[in-house]
C-alpha cells in the first residue's frame, strides 16, 4: 500500500533511537567495563592486560563469600516477596471488588512515593533500640527492656522485601487479572479442592507473572546499595558495597569493574537457571508485564 522506500526509511528512523540507546548506554559501557576489568595496575599510571582482577576474586574467599551471601540473601528476599506478595496480588486481582481494586493498587505503589533513602530512614526510626517498635513493645509490656531490631540481617531482609515487593505484585496482578474466573471455578467443579486448584491451576497459570516478578525482584535486591548498608549489621557485607569500595575507597577501578562484571554474570546465571527450571523465557515473562 505504500512505497517500499518510505517503509524502509520509517523503519530506520524508528530503529535509530533504540540502537543509540542500547548501543551507547548499555553495550558500549559494558564493553568498556570488560576492557577495564582486564587491566592490571603494575605501577603508577602503568597498566597491563591480564586476568589478575578476576584471579584476585577467586583467591580471596571474602569476595566470593560476599557474592554468595548477596546471592543467597537476594534469593531469600525474592522467595519472601513472592510468599507475601502472592496473596496480596490474588486479593487485588480476584477478590477485591472492581472499585476497591484501583485503590488497593494505588496503595501498593506507596513505596515508590519516596526514595530508597527515605524508606530506609523510616525503617531505622522504627527498628532502632530506642525506636518506635521497641518503645511500643516496652509500653505494652511484651518486653522488659529495649530490644535492638536494627543492624542485623533480618532488618536488611525486611528492608529489601519492602523495597522490592511492589515489583513482585505488579506483574502478578496483571497476569492474574488476565485469568478467567471460570478457570478457577472449573478447577473446583472438576473435583479439585482449594489446594489442588492453587497448585495445579492458579500457579501454573500465573507462572509467567511469577517468574517476571522474581527476576526483577532478584535483580533489584542483588543490585541494591543503600538498604543493606544502612540497615545491615557488623557482618552484613553486600557485594555492591564492595564494588563501591573498590571504586571509591581503594581507587581500584579495574578491580571494581571486574566485580561489576562478576555480579552481572552471577545474577545472569541465577536468572538463566531460574528460567530453565520454570520453563519460561525472558520474552514471555518480563517483557509481558
Amino acid at each position: 500500500m505504500q512505497n517500499k522506500d518510505i517503509k524502509r526509511l520509517t523503519l530506520i528512523l524508528l530503529f535509530a533511537p533504540f540502537a543509540l540507546w542500547i548501543l551507547l548506554l548499555i553495550i558500549l559501557p559494558h564493553i568498556g567495563m570488560v576492557v577495564l576489568s582486564l587491566k592490571e595496575k603494575v605501577a603508577p599510571r602503568v597498566y597491563e592486560y591480564s586476568f589478575a582482577n578476576y584471579l584476585d576474586f577467586l583467591h580471596e574467599p571474602i569476595y566470593w563469600n560476599t557474592l554468595l551471601r548477596t546471592g543467597s540473601m537476594s534469593l531469600l528476599v525474592t522467595a519472601l516477596a513472592l510468599l507475601i506478595g502472592f496473596p496480596i496480588a490474588y486479593y487485588i486481582a480476584k477478590i477485591a471488588g472492581p472499585r476497591a481494586r484501583g485503590g488497593l493498587f494505588l496503595l501498593c505503589l506507596i513505596p515508590l512515593w519516596v526514595s530508597d533513602l527515605i524508606r530506609s530512614f523510616g525503617w531505622i526510626l522504627l527498628l532502632r533500640e530506642t525506636g518506635v517498635i521497641s518503645n511500643f513493645l516496652l509500653w505494652t509490656g511484651l518486653i522488659g527492656q529495649p530490644v535492638e531490631f536494627l543492624y542485623n540481617d533480618a532488618a536488611v531482609i525486611v528492608g529489601l522485601v519492602y523495597t522490592v515487593i511492589l515489583f513482585m505484585i505488579v506483574p502478578l496482578v496483571s497476569t492474574l487479572d488476565g485469568m478467567d474466573n471460570s478457570m478457577i471455578e472449573a478447577g473446583y467443579n472438576l473435583g479439585g479442592n482449594g489446594f489442588t486448584v492453587l497448585r495445579r491451576i492458579i500457579i501454573p497459570y500465573a507462572m509467567p507473572g511469577i517468574v517476571a516478578g522474581c527476576i526483577v525482584t532478584f535483580m533489584l535486591s542483588a543490585g541494591s546499595y543503600l538498604t543493606p548498608i544502612l540497615l545491615g549489621g557488623k557482618n552484613s557485607s553486600w557485594f555492591t558495597e564492595q564494588i563501591y569500595n573498590q571504586f571509591i575507597t581503594r581507587f581500584n577501578w579495574e578491580g571494581g569493574a571486574a566485580f561489576g562484571m562478576l555480579l552481572l554474570l552471577f545474577t545472569s546465571i541465577v536468572i538463566w537457571l531460574g528460567l530453565k527450571l520454570s520453563g519460561q523465557t525472558l520474552a514471555n515473562t518480563v517483557a509481558k508485564s
Binding site: E129, K234, S237, Q242, T249, R250, F251
Partner: protein
C-alpha cells in the same frame, strides 16, 4: 562566573556563601558535598575537570596527584599566606610538594578520637578501650582507616613510620585486623555517618565511640556529658586543604574564596559550621564560644602536643587498608 566547590558537608555554610556572593556579585557558588575518597574518585573520573576548588585532607594529595594527575600547582602569591598558622602551612607544603610545585594550602584542622558519655563510661581513654568487655555492645566505630591507625597506635606500633616499608605495614595491618575482628563482639554497630553516630550516642544506645571531634562538639551542645576524648595514644589530626583541580576554570574565583574564608570574621562563621579549627594564626580563639568551651573541655595542652598528624599516604596503601577493612567486615565475629 561560577565557582564549583567540591568540599565537605559543612564546609560551605549558606550564610558564608551568601556573604561571598554579595561581595563578588559576578560569582555564583555551587557546592558539591563529598569526602576524601569520593573527591579523588570524582576528580579521577573527570580527569580533574568539573570543579574549581577541592578540599581534600593533606595526606590524600600526594599519591593521588602522582597517580592520576588531578590537581594543578597553586600560585601562593595569590593567597594571603600571612594569616596562616606557619606550622600548619609548612606541614602542608612539605606534604604536597611535587617537583618543586606546591599543590595545597591548609584550611581547617581537626582530630579524630574518641567520644564518651562521662557518666556512663568515665574510663574510656584509649582506642583499645572500645574493645573493653565492660562496654560490651555499647561502643561503636567507623570501619575506615582511622580506626586501623588508632588501633595500631594502641598496640604500640607506629603505622606512619611503617609507610615507607609496605611489607612491615602489612604486618601491622594484619595484627590490627585480628584485634578488630576479635573486638567485633563488643561493638554494637559500625556507624556509617554522623547521623547514626549522633542518634546512637544521644539515645544512650552506646556510651563510647570513635568519632570526628566536630560531631562530638555538636553533641556536647545537646548533652554536656558527651565529650570528646583525645585517646591517650594521641588523637589523629588531619588538615583539610585547598587544592585546585587540574582542569578547573575559575582559578581567580577560587583564590578569592580562599582569601575570603581566611578572614577572621569569616573564620568564626566557618568554624561554627564545621566544628573544626581554622589554620590561621590564633585559630582556636576565633572559634565561637560554645565550640571553644567544648574544645577546652576536651583538650589539654598536653593533648595538643601529643597530636599525630596523618602522614602522606603512599600509593598502594589505600588498597591494602581497604582489603583489611573488608576482611574485618566480612569476618563473622560477635
Amino acid at each position: 562566573e561560577t565557582l564549583r566547590l567540591l568540599t565537605w558537608g559543612s564546609y560551605a555554610p549558606d550564610e558564608l556563601v551568601q556573604k561571598f556572593e554579595e561581595e563578588y556579585p559576578d560569582i555564583e557558588v555551587e557546592v558539591t558535598f563529598s569526602n576524601n575518597e569520593e573527591m579523588i574518585a570524582k576528580l579521577r573520573a573527570t580527569g580533574g575537570a568539573g570543579f574549581d576548588l577541592a578540599q581534600p585532607s593533606h595526606d590524600r594529595i600526594y599519591a593521588a596527584q602522582l597517580e592520576y594527575d588531578i590537581y594543578k600547582p597553586m600560585d601562593l602569591s595569590k593567597i594571603d599566606t600571612g594569616v596562616m598558622e606557619g606550622k600548619l602551612l609548612d606541614g602542608v607544603k612539605a606534604n604536597t610538594t611535587i617537583d618543586g610545585e606546591v599543590y595545597a594550602v591548609p584550611h581547617q584542622w581537626g582530630t579524630s578520637g574518641l567520644m564518651a558519655d562521662k557518666t556512663k563510661a568515665p574510663d574510656l581513654k584509649s582506642w583499645a578501650d572500645l574493645c573493653d568487655p565492660a562496654y560490651k555492645g555499647k561502643t561503636s566505630m567507623r570501619l575506615k582507616r582511622t580506626i586501623l591507625l588508632g588501633t595500631a597506635y594502641s598496640m604500640g606500633e607506629d603505622p606512619f613510620a611503617a609507610y615507607s616499608d609496605l611489607e612491615k605495614y602489612q604486618g601491622i595491618l594484619d595484627k590490627v585486623a585480628d584485634k578488630l575482628i576479635e573486638c567485633k563482639g563488643n561493638i554494637k554497630a559500625y556507624w556509617q555517618g554522623g547521623d547514626d553516630l549522633s542518634a546512637m550516642m544521644l539515645s544512650g544506645e552506646i556510651v563510647g565511640s570513635e568519632t570526628w571531634d566536630s560531631t562530638a562538639y555538636k553533641l556536647f551542645d545537646q548533652n554536656p556529658n558527651i565529650v570528646f576524648v583525645p585517646p591517650k595514644e594521641g588523637a589523629l589530626a588531619w588538615i583539610d586543604t585547598f587544592a585546585l583541580p587540574a582542569k578547573g576554570k575559575a582559578d581567580d574565583a577560587a583564590y578569592k574564596w580562599i582569601n575570603f574564608v581566611l578572614r577572621p570574621e569569616n573564620v568564626t562563621l566557618m568554624s561554627a559550621s564545621t566544628g573544626a579549627i581554622a589554620a590561621v594564626k590564633g585559630g582556636k580563639d576565633l572559634l565561637p564560644e560554645d565550640k571553644k568551651a567544648a574544645v577546652n573541655a576536651a583538650f589539654t595542652d598536653a593533648d595538643i602536643d601529643n597530636l599525630k598528624f596523618f602522614a602522606n599516604i603512599p600509593p598502594g596503601v589505600e588498597d591494602m587498608e581497604g582489603k583489611t577493612l573488608e576482611k574485618i567486615k566480612a569476618a563473622t565475629g560477635g
